[in-house]
Symmetry: C3
Subunit: 452 residues, 3 copies
C-alpha cells in the first residue's frame, strides 16, 4: 500500500516542473501525509492537482515578468556625463549625442615700442560642437559632428563625418571612410578637449587637419599603425580644376602602456598634392581670440606638393606627464627653390591632486581627464599645472614667414567629468623676421569648457 | 461537525483573492486536514490566517512589480538603425533623431578637343543632414531637418521644418504647414537617400523644391492626391517687393501596390508667380562634385510666372523596377515670347540578390532598400544594377540654354539597413547648344551614404 | 516530547528569513502536524528543509527581478511634448533635446501716396532652433542652443551656450558663465515662444541681447536679482582692437505670485562700453518678414559707452494679464552732445477659454501657455486675445532716427502644449521723422509655432 502510494506520488510529481528541488515542499508533505494515511487518495490527488496548477501559473507569471523586464532592459539609456547615450543589451547597437562648448577670454600685454598694439582683448566662442555617433550591427560605426563656432560658409563647420567597419578577423583592424583627421601629429590626434593647454603648440601650423578619404588602421595595446588616402576638405568646393589629394601614415610604439604609466614613441609622414591651390602656413601666438598671426608665410602659389614628417614622444608616470614633438615640412615648388619649415615643442604636466593623464591605444592619444574626487562630493576635482616651450621656423628659401618662440604656463581644473577650466599665461619670447619681427607679448587666457 | 468545518473553511477562503483556483492548494489541504480531524479548529484558523496574509502580501508585491514594469516600459527606446527613436507605449508620442551623410568622389574624362577641360576631379560632402521628428498627442506630427553641407548663408541649409495634423475622420487625410517640398515630380518625392542613382535625372532642373506653405493630402493604398499653396523658400529674405508664390498639386493611381509588385501612374502641375525675381533653369551632367552646369538658361529677368506639368510612371516586379517621367515647363514673359522647356528620363533596376525596391503610398514614392540578408551575418547585403537614359531641352524662344542627353549605369550595394555604396558611370551622349555645345564627358562617381 | 519538537521547530524556523510573518504558513502547519504527531521528526525536517530552500530561492528571484527593475527604471525617458527628455531616478542627471520652429507669413497694406510701397509681402522662417540642455552631478547645468534661421555667418546662429552651478548653500543662488542674455528688459527675458505677440514691442531696439559673460543671480518666489559682467557677442570676431564689454543688473519684486495671480515690479540697468565699435538702434514695425526698419539712428560712430535703464510692470488675474515697460538709453559721445532715446509699451491679454498666463520666478518671466483642455481630446485648446500700444523715440541731439507709434491686435490659439498659432494685426499709427516720415502701414501677420 505504501509502495503503491509512493509510486503514485512519484508519477504525479514527475509531471511537475524541474523546480522540484526547491518549491516541492508542499508536494513532499502531501506525499508523506498520504503515506502516513492522514489524507486519502482522493484528497491527495485533489490538492496535488491544485498545487500543480498553481506552479504552472507561477511559471507563466515569471515568464511574463521576465519578458517585460527583457523589453525594459533591452536598451540602456545613460545621461551620466551630460548628453545622451543609449546602448542595446549586447552592445551591438549604440547611439550617443554629445558635444563641446569652449569659451575663451583673453587679455594681451604688449611691448608697444616695437610694433604697436596688435592684439585686441576680448572673448570668443572657441568651439561649439554637437555630434551623434553610434554603432550598428556590432561591426559598423559612424560619427557626425558639426562645429557651430565657425565663421563664414556653413560647410566650414563640418568636422567628423564618417563611417567605419571593424568586423575583420584581424585583431584591431578597422577601416573608415568619410571626412576625418589625417593620421598625423600627436597633439592633433588628441582632441582639443584634452590638450594640456588651451591651444596646441605653434607647430600646429603644419597640421594635416581633416579631409575626405579612406583610412585603414590597426590599434593594439603596444603599437598602432594607420595609413590613408585623402581628397579635399569638406569646405572645398569643386570647379574646373582637379582638387588636391594626399597620403598619410603614422606608426606608434608604446612599450609601456598601463594606467598611470606610459612610454609612447611615434613617427608620421603626410604627403599632399596641392592640385594647384595655394598653400599657407601661419600661426597665432598660441591664443585664438584676436586672430592675429605672428608668423605667416603668406599665400605660396607655385607649390606642387609638400611632405611633412613628424616624430613624437610621450611619457606618463602617475601624476607626471611629458610630451614632445618635432615636425618638418618640405615644399616642392615648380619655379623656385624648395623651402623647408620646421618646429618643435616639449611640454610637461603635474597633477596637484591624485590624478593621472589617461591615454588610449585607440588612435594612440591622450584622453579626457576624469577627476578621481569630483568637486561637490567633498572632493576638489583634479588640478594640474603645466609648462611648455615651443618654437616654429617659417623662414627658408627666401620666404620671410618669421620664427617664433613661446613659453606657456598652464593651470587646469577639472571639477567633474566633462567640465574644465583653464588659465594659460603665454610669454612670446621672441619673434624673428616676418611682419611681427621683435614682437614680444604677454598673454593671459581663460577657458571654460564643457564636453558632454 | 464536518459540515460546520467546511462552512467555516468556505467562509474564510471566500475572503481570499479570486486566484483561489490555482494557489489554493494549501487552503484545500488545511480544509481536508481539518475535516479529517488531523488539526484542530484553532490550528486551522491560525495557519489559514497566515496563508491569507501571505497571499495578500504576494498580491501587493506583484502589483508593485507591475507598476515598476509599467513605468519601465512606458517609453520604448530604439537604436536599431543608428540614430535614436523613442515611442510611448501606445504610440501617441514619438521622437526620432536621425540624419544622413553622403560623401562623393568623382573622376572626369573629357574630350579636350571640343571645349577644353571643364570638370575638376574631386571629393565632396554632398549632404550632411540631421533631423528630429515626432508625433505629439497622436494626431500632430512635426519634422525639423537641416543640411550642414550647404554653402553660404546659414539659412540655406533648412530643408524640412513643418507641423502636420491627421486627426480627421476622413481616412488618409492630413494637412501640413511649414517649409517642405511642393508635391511635384516622382524623383523629387523620393528622398535622395533612396534614388536609384547618386543624382536625379537632368529634368531635376525643373524641380519645384521646397517652400513655406500649407498642403492638404490624401494618401490611400491605391491612390493619393495633394494640393498646396506656397510662399517662398526659407533662404529667401524679404524686402520691399512682394515675394513669389505658388500653387501645386499631384495625383497618383496605383492599381497594383503590393510588396514586390507595383504599377504607379501620376500627374502633377506646379504654378509659380515669380514676384519679380529672376528665374534660372540649369543642370550639371548628373554629378555634383565639380559644380559645372552643362545646360543653363542663365538668369531670365522678365518672367511673370511659369507652369510646370509632369507625368509619372513606375513599376516594380520583384527584383525588377522601372521608372519614367516627363516634365514640361512654360514661362510667361511680359516683353518677350513665351518659351517652353522639357525633358524626360527612363530608368530601370535589377537586384542581383533576392531583394525588391520598396514603395509607400504615403507620399506615393519609393522608400529605402533594406537588404534581406545583411552583410556580416553570413549575407552579402543587397546588390542592384541600374540603367538610365535622360534628356533635357532648355532651348526655346531665343533662349540658348542647351540640350543634353545622358546615359547612366549604376551599381548599388546596401550592406546593412541605412548604409549604401554606389558607383555610377555617366556618359554625356550629347550637348547641343549653350556654352557647353558638343561637350562629351565620361564621369565616374562613387558615393558612400549612411542614413540613420 | 512536544516541547522538544517545538524547540526543534523554533530553532529551524529561526534560520529562515525575516518574512516569517506572512509566508510562514507551511512552516506553521508543519510544526503543528509535528506537534500533533501526524508526521515524524524525520518527515518534519525533510519538508522544512525543502521549504527553507524554496524560500531562499524566492528571495533570490525577487532580488534579481528588483535589480533588473532598478536598472530598467534607472533613467526615465519622456517624449510628452515632442523632443526627448531623460532623467536619472534621483534627478541628479538630466538631458533634454528640444527646439522651436516659427514660420511667418505677412501681408502689408500701405498709404502709397506718402512714401511709396516699402514693405514686401512674404513668408519667413523666423526661428528654427535646436537645443540640448541638462544637469550633471545635481549642481551643474548647461545649455547649448543654435538658431538655424540666421542669415550670414555660421556663428551668428549661436544663442545660448553656457554652464551654470547652483550647489551653493544660499537659497536660490546660481552662477552661470558662457553666452546668454544680459539680465535686461522683461519682454526680452520672456522667450520669443511665449511673448504675447509674434514680435516684441518696438523698444526691443534697446535690447541688450546676448554676450559672453558671467552672471550671478538669486531667484526666490517673491523677489529676484541678477548681476553680470559681459564681453562681446558670440558672432563678434577679435582683431587688433580691444572688444566692447558691459555690465548689467536686474531686480524684481513679486508681492503676489500664485498660479493665476501676479504682481511683478522690476528695475534694470545695462551699461556697455563699445570698444570703439559703432552703435545702431533701429526697429521694424513689429513685423520681421520684410526686414525694413521704420525707425533707425543709422550707424553712430563716436559712442564711447551707453547706459540703458528700464522699469517693468506685469499683472495676472486669472484669464487677464497685463504688461508694461519703459526704457531709456543715454549715449556718451566723445565729440558730440549726448543723445537720449526712449520708448514704452503697455499690453493686455484676455483668455477666451479657462486658461491663464503662467509665470516663473526663475528669471522672473512669463512661461509657455499649456492649454487646460487640449484640442483633439474634446477640448478646443486655449484662445487668447491681446492688445498693445507701443512707442519709441530715436530722435535727439541731432540724430534723426524717427519716432514710431503702433497699435497691435492679437489672437493666439494654443491647441496642444508646444503648438501655437497667432494672428497679429498691426496699425502703424504714426512715424515722425527719419527716412520713413509719415509712413502709415497696415500689417497682417500669421505665425505657426512648434516648441518641443
Amino acid at each position: 500500500m505504501k509502495f503503491k502510494k509512493r509510486a503514485l506520488a512519484i508519477a504525479i510529481i514527475a509531471g511537475l516542473s524541474t523546480q522540484a528541488q526547491a518549491g516541492s515542499e508542499l508536494s513532499t508533505l502531501l506525499m508523506l501525509l498520504h503515506e502516513n494515511g492522514t489524507i486519502s487518495d482522493a484528497q491527495y490527488k485533489r490538492v496535488l492537482a491544485e498545487a500543480q496548477a498553481s506552479e504552472q501559473q507561477q511559471v507563466a507569471e515569471k515568464k511574463d515578468i521576465q519578458a517585460q523586464l527583457d523589453k525594459a532592459t533591452n536598451v540602456e539609456v545613460n545621461v551620466g556625463k551630460g548628453g545622451l547615450a543609449v546602448k542595446s543589451r549586447d552592445g551591438s547597437f549604440t547611439s550617443k549625442i554629445g558635444g563641446r562648448m569652449q569659451l575663451d577670454s583673453a587679455w594681451y600685454g604688449e611691448d608697444d615700442s616695437a610694433a604697436g598694439s596688435t592684439l585686441g582683448d576680448g572673448t570668443k566662442v572657441r568651439r561649439a560642437r554637437l555630434y551623434i555617433k553610434g554603432t550598428v550591427n556590432k561591426d559598423w560605426f559612424y560619427k557626425f559632428e558639426y562645429d557651430f563656432a565657425g565663421t563664414g560658409d556653413t560647410k566650414k563647420g563640418i568636422t567628423d563625418i564618417w563611417v567605419g567597419y571593424n568586423g575583420f578577423d584581424f585583431d584591431g583592424l578597422s577601416v573608415k571612410a568619410g571626412h576625418f583627421r589625417d593620421p598625423f601629429m600627436l597633439q592633433d590626434q588628441v582632441s582639443d578637449n584634452n590638450t594640456q593647454f588651451t591651444e596646441r603648440a605653434s607647430i600646429d601650423a603644419f597640421t594635416a587637419s581633416r579631409h575626405i578619404g579612406v583610412m585603414g588602421s590597426i590599434n593594439r595595446k603596444h603599437w598602432t599603425t594607420a595609413l590613408g588616402v585623402f581628397g579635399e576638405k569638406a569646405k572645398t568646393d569643386g570647379g574646373s580644376n582637379d582638387e588636391g589629394w594626399g597620403l598619410g601614415g603614422r606608426a606608434t610604439w608604446m612599450p609601456v602602456n598601463e594606467k598611470g604609466a606610459l612610454l609612447h614613441l611615434g613617427l608620421a609622414a603626410n604627403y599632399r598634392s596641392t592640385g594647384g591651390d595655394s598653400v599657407q602656413f601661419k600661426q597665432q601666438p598660441e591664443t585664438n581670440v584676436s586672430g592675429v598671426n605672428f608668423v605667416d608665410t603668406g599665400s605660396l602659389l607655385d607649390v606642387d606638393h609638400y611632405l611633412s614628417i613628424g616624430a613624437e614622444l610621450a611619457v606618463v608616470q602617475h601624476r607626471f606627464s611629458g610630451q614632445a614633438e618635432y615636425i618638418r615640412t618640405t615644399l616642392e615648388r615648380d619655379a623656385a627653390s624648395d623651402p623647408s619649415f620646421d618646429g618643435w615643442y616639449a611640454q610637461t604636466g603635474w597633477f596637484l591632486t591624485d590624478d593621472t593623464r589617461p591615454y588610449t591605444h585607440k588612435g594612440a592619444k591622450f584622453k579626457a581627464v576624469t577627476p578621481n574626487n569630483p568637486f561637490g562630493n567633498g572632493g576638489v576635482g583634479a588640478w594640474e599645472v603645466a609648462l611648455r616651450y615651443s618654437t616654429i621656423d617659417l623662414m627658408d628659401a627666401g620666404i620671410d614667414g618669421g620664427e617664433m618662440e613661446n613659453l606657456k604656463l598652464g593651470l587646469n581644473w577639472f571639477p567633474v567629468a566633462g567640465l574644465r577650466f583653464s588659465a594659460n599665461y603665454i610669454k612670446v619670447l621672441e619673434v624673428d623676421g616676418g611682419e611681427h619681427n621683435n614682437e614680444e607679448a604677454d598673454i593671459m587666457q581663460l577657458r571654460g569648457q564643457w564636453a558632454f
